[in-house]
Symmetry: C2
Subunit: 304 residues, 2 copies
Amino acid sequence: MQDNNIDLTIVGSIGIDTIETPTEKREEILGGSASFACAAASFFTQTGMVGVVGTDFPQNYRDAWTQMNIDLEGLQTVEGQTFRWSGVYEENMDNRRTLSTELNVFETFSPELPEKYREAPYLFLGNIHPALQLHVLEQVHNPRFILIDTMDLWINVDRPDLEKVISKCNMLTLNESEAELFTGERSLVKAAHALLELGPEYVLIKKGGNGSMLFSKEEIFLLHAFPLDSFKDPTGAGDAFAGGFIGALAASGKTDLASIRSALAYGTIVASFGVEEFSLERLIRLDRKQIDERLNTFKKMCQL
Amino acid sequence: MQDNNIDLTIVGSIGIDTIETPTEKREEILGGSASFACAAASFFTQTGMVGVVGTDFPQNYRDAWTQMNIDLEGLQTVEGQTFRWSGVYEENMDNRRTLSTELNVFETFSPELPEKYREAPYLFLGNIHPALQLHVLEQVHNPRFILIDTMDLWINVDRPDLEKVISKCNMLTLNESEAELFTGERSLVKAAHALLELGPEYVLIKKGGNGSMLFSKEEIFLLHAFPLDSFKDPTGAGDAFAGGFIGALAASGKTDLASIRSALAYGTIVASFGVEEFSLERLIRLDRKQIDERLNTFKKMCQL
């Protein structure tokens, strides 16, 4: 059974997206937080996916995950349509507008972890309802490191459950505007310290093309984004960053700050590849050598 | 005469500002690009200021510069009122609106460099009309390194002179939106490469609280901003960054990339102190020990 071990369990959404950018429109492409995060993590560690799809879910999308060596035992297939999202990116790619959301089978999703996922030492609670994130925590056996993501919706509609689940995690990640919404603080330093009061050891604030900031009570760690000439689609960048990070951390087997910093750099690099094309199209062609080469370039760019 | 040498000449505006932030309003405070840049450079090297004030200019502002050991032989005092600017910062401090601009003695300013300034090996052409920047270049004796700043106004109204003066400089600095305005490129990487085509070896793009990016034809260097709990007034941050940078570079006596990177970190740190208070109020109380301490903290935050 040793070769069948799961090092990292990732729970999140799986969607079929329709995305419009200033130059291109793509319909019915593979998306969702679990999809991007598992793909990014798969370069580093044995990853198991927990999510739900409908009976309409295309076999070739499932094959793409299998090709990336993602374990799908935790993937539920339920009678009905897969979750669908469509959105449009404005001229500068900074703002996106949701055009439609159809929850479909995601509406009644309850994450159930296969036995082998419960023992995984690393866990990423991707962005789903905090009550479902809590339900996952009831099933796992004392993981070494838990990362949690969330979004503005849950901050607005279920703050009590969200605060409860965050208190049980090692690291909270969210973006700039969500940190401000959550705390009412415009300063990211103040917002992060308010969020640390909820209990996690670390708060990781994502700033898109401007990188990210990691906060503990004592320290701040600053991370750039990798500068790209151009990119096609920022959808899933935050999930790929988080997934690449926790995948690399799981591969290290450690949880100390130096390992976390090193893993964050890996997350940055994988996310930068991800946005070069739509959906998982770039990640599926990516290999570890390309990741390491870009990481070396990146490190030189960051040297003080 | 050796002790009277000027290592760095800085040309720019000197203004009396009235500034409103969401929490405070301050009237008739010392500002201007030359004022902030010279103050920032003064921690590192012997700096000479070229600018103009009116006969109304307060003696205590002049004393502030002298106290910082800035050489004022290049400062002209002309009958009339000093340049005045007033502006207001919106809620998030990201956007500012100009309420009024009175050029006054600045309208007929022609920078004339004292003999000893012409020999300075380092030169910073702060943001003034490109024709005046060209006039400065006619007076200097082959400086080792020339940094030039500009603004949207000159990009819009005198692009030919601006391109001419940029072609004679080693490094161009400007902010994100100016880089886009200048080149029509939304990607900073593409914008920077288009600007490098004008002739400078380096393009330094300022991103405010999100740091800066240095480009040469072959390399990119990424720099964070120092994260602050809070700040009072971002006015002059870009000038303090540029002034601190070229001051530190002048102190090194070098112009290689490693020295430039190290000097940019100093610029970042001095600018971070500058915004903690209005005008030069924090810089005038700052010392080199505080700068070096924060720089050490900063380097730890940036370590990959």
